[in-house]
Symmetry: C2
Subunit: 232 residues, 2 copies
């Protein structure tokens, strides 16, 4: 345990949802060879006000430079620290259909400390095949030890899979099935529901009122001035 101290004083829920976005932005600038970014620029790209950006970042300690903004490298590191990206953790994925395949093959899903350790499926056609460097195991096999379980099965099967994962002592679930899960207290479930995203988008469109400029989290409604278009 290399000095795990100073795990930043607790951040608010909205803040932790925004930090990964800022980090993405910082990495984007770093890739383009830029070294500094200010709160106004981050804000416009993320769809929030500069003040909100500064508040969020101030919560990680003072590392900006007055008059000059933030160093993208430092910014990225500080966020990684705050979010606990130094820690590594194991991930199992259950359900290797199109979605499961998309996730494990994506270069952007299993990043920042996440390590894929096993894949499970129930379909005999799929079991035994090699996906993303792992042989797909039958669901009847014992579930290996892991920190996070990702559920990509049809909704009817989701609860049963959740039970198996919890039974295997996995207490953090990322559920892509449109199905509310019942789990014991102490287990965290995080839902991702594509149709809900679409529904929220449509609500805003119908009512005009939406975050067409400034929003929250995924609801990041962005209307970026072309002045900030990435230079090509």
């Amino acid at each position: 345990m290399a000095t795990p101290r100073l795990r930043t004083r607790k951040l608010s829920e909205p803040t932790i949802a925004r930090l990964p976005v800022y980090q993405r932005i910082a990495e984007g600038w770093a890739l383009r060879g830029l070294t500094r970014i200010d709160s106004r620029q981050i804000g416009e790209l993320a769809g929030v006000t500069p003040t909100t950006v500064r508040r969020d970042l101030a919560g990680l300690g003072s590392f900006g430079t007055r008059g000059a903004g933030y160093d993208v490298q430092v910014l990225s590191e500080r966020i990684a620290e705050a979010l606990g990206h130094d820690r590594e953790y194991d991930v199992v994925v259950v359900g290797i259909g199109n979605l499961g395949r998309a996730l494990v093959n994506s270069t952007n899903f299993l990043i920042r400390g996440a390590r894929l350790v096993a894949l499970y499926d129930i379909d005999p056609e799929v079991v035994g095949t090699l996906v993303a460097g792992h042989v797909v195991q039958p669901l009847t096999d014992p579930i290996v030890a892991a920190t996070v379980g990702v559920i990509c099965v049809p909704p009817q099967a989701a609860q049963e899979v959740a039970d198996r994962l919890v039974g295997a002592d996995i207490h953090a679930l990322l559920n892509f099935a449109p199905q509310v899960l019942s789990v014991p207290i102490g287990t965290a479930v995080h839902y991702v529901d594509f149709s809900i995203e679409l529904q929220i988008l449509m609500y805003h469109l119908n009512n005009g009122t939406g975050p067409l400029g400034g929003g929250l989290l995924h609801s990041l409604g962005i209307s970026t001035p072309n002045s900030l278009r990435p230079v090509t």
Copy 2:
């Protein structure tokens, strides 16, 4: 236009994010043959307090029955109304990789008024094939008229695709690429980023502090008492 009036007085952002969740729950109960549900039950399943549920629903007009809760059928309809599900709208999907395929083949993505009208891809291997009842068109083809564009391409290509969609007069984008998009003012972009979901989940796990019982939206951390387990 069949009396589009009484589009409910504006709902708060957190509320509209929760409504689809309530609706899912109501539909689940209806499927199991149950006809009534109360705010406590909805709350436990959705990971919010009963009071929050009642406030959210009160915003859609009074349709609960004191002493007996809500009729799941009516509940579902009222939410549909409030969210504008009566309106139909056209959706195009760009990028027919694993993710795009998973989305269009899912029985749960294109629901509630969403109608798939076209698929586009750049890969000659994919163009011309039949996916979800549509022949995949080359990206060089003109983009058909639609309301929503779904972007499932690699991050490097996302901005270019967004430009094409906006150029085709599509002003609502659902972006699955981990890439901040620049679009003209008036265009709504909604981001879905899987790795961010994972990161938020891990933050909560590391800090214990998380929504292990009660959260928000996707962050619906749920610790459902087994008393509410669906009866099998």
